[in-house]
Amino acid sequence: MPATDPAIAEVSCLRYGEHEETARELAVDASLDVLEEAGLEGDELDSLFVANAFGMADKQGHVGPLISTAIGAPNVPSSTTEAACASASVAFRHAIAHVRAGMAETALVVGTEKVSHIDTMTATSYFCYGSDYFLEGGVGATFPGLYAAIARAHMDEFGTSEEDMARVAVKNHANGIHNPTAHFQKEIEIGDVLDSYEVAAPLKLYDACPFSDGAAAAIVTTEEKARAMTDTPVTVEASTQRGTIAALSEREDVTEIEGTQLAGQAAFEQAGVSADEVDLFEVHDCFTIAELVAMEDLGLAEPGKAAAMVREGQTKPDGDVPVNASGGLKSKGHPVGATGMGQIYEAVEQLRGEAEGPRQVDGAERVLTHNVGATGGTVTVNILGRGD
């Protein structure tokens, strides 16, 4: 049976940051935006995929039908996916699979999150539920704590310094300035990072992504239908997902995330391209150390060598290996259940040459997105290409 190639027809993204609206309202706004872009009515959809990690913070589960109802598609099948910080990209893969299998011709994927109404301690607790709670969260290992443990081990093994990590934040903040959807549009210097308060040693405030509200959406459909909706469809050259042993303590090596290595290799194989043929990498930099580890796990640098590439400016939008032109989670923000779709939004903007100012990677033909749930229990990689 010939598989149907899926494509992205349109995308939308609300500005990340603090919103008054609930997660459900944000999802509806982003969904209506993307439907309008695509010139579709809600009831023309065959499927709705919602991603959300902290729905219970709003005392509301089962949000799929609420969103489908609000967008004029109450009878369309909907489902909600939770995979911690990778929720949205896993939902995206459900849409890809449905289109490929012929179970849906046109699907809407929307990721949404709302956390600004809960205090930092409560939010930190919700995040802990995405770890192996008995082994990690339950003994006080918060997410900043777990990534700090990775950072400390990386420093010990490879001599990575706090300055090396700080440079990732400086670059990502510089990119975020040119991103109208970014939570922060604020230039920072290395000193600002090093002098910011400690969150989980050696990680400081500016090594961390913020808690953001936000939503992002896409219309996933067959290539043929996408072409009818837009002159600039985006093709899905690869979409992979792999896992890693959930608890850090049960892994042999805490300076790498095996799921990224595996999902990355599989994605390059699926797309039939090498990393050299990718023009931009939007990776999961929930903490600065995570960007360095992701670069190493994706094979952009040897283990321990990513910091040197950042230092040399190679990962800036005009460098050889641009990483996180959007500003990444660090500056664009991290509305957990929306983040993966936000990365796909950036990829589409870049492939269409529509990213603002110096954030645009010249002539971008192919973009890789990398989204991590927790410390790698879930990892997804997509390779997207220009379909025009």
Partner: protein, 135 residues
Amino acid sequence: MQVPRYWREQSERYKLVGSKCNNCGLRVFPRRSLCPDCRHESQGQMEEVRFEGTGELVTWTRVHEALSDRELETPYLMGIVELDEGPRVTAQIVDLDPEEVEIGMELESRFRKLGEASESGVVHYGYKFGPVVSD
């Protein structure tokens, strides 16, 4: 779910008790009914073991923002310890100043209050690690 029973079971897990596979000798933490290496061959051969509680520090951090589920005093030190018997555990590190902490140092376990479980009010005990004091 009955809250008290839930917490009792959880406390049980917070003792340094794991399993030994009598097929290959592998020790795992926490307890498992099957060996991750031998799988079905280890059926009925998993023996409960209590770890000595001594090991080496693999990595560590100092956490400033705790979670609301546990009444923890911040900041606190936390790390991953590789037990002498093999398995690794994530735990709080006590009785040490951050300046004294070093990857690779020997630590031993202490059985301590992990904090109050705020919602149920049940006091919660479990393992923490500190410098070796016994001979």
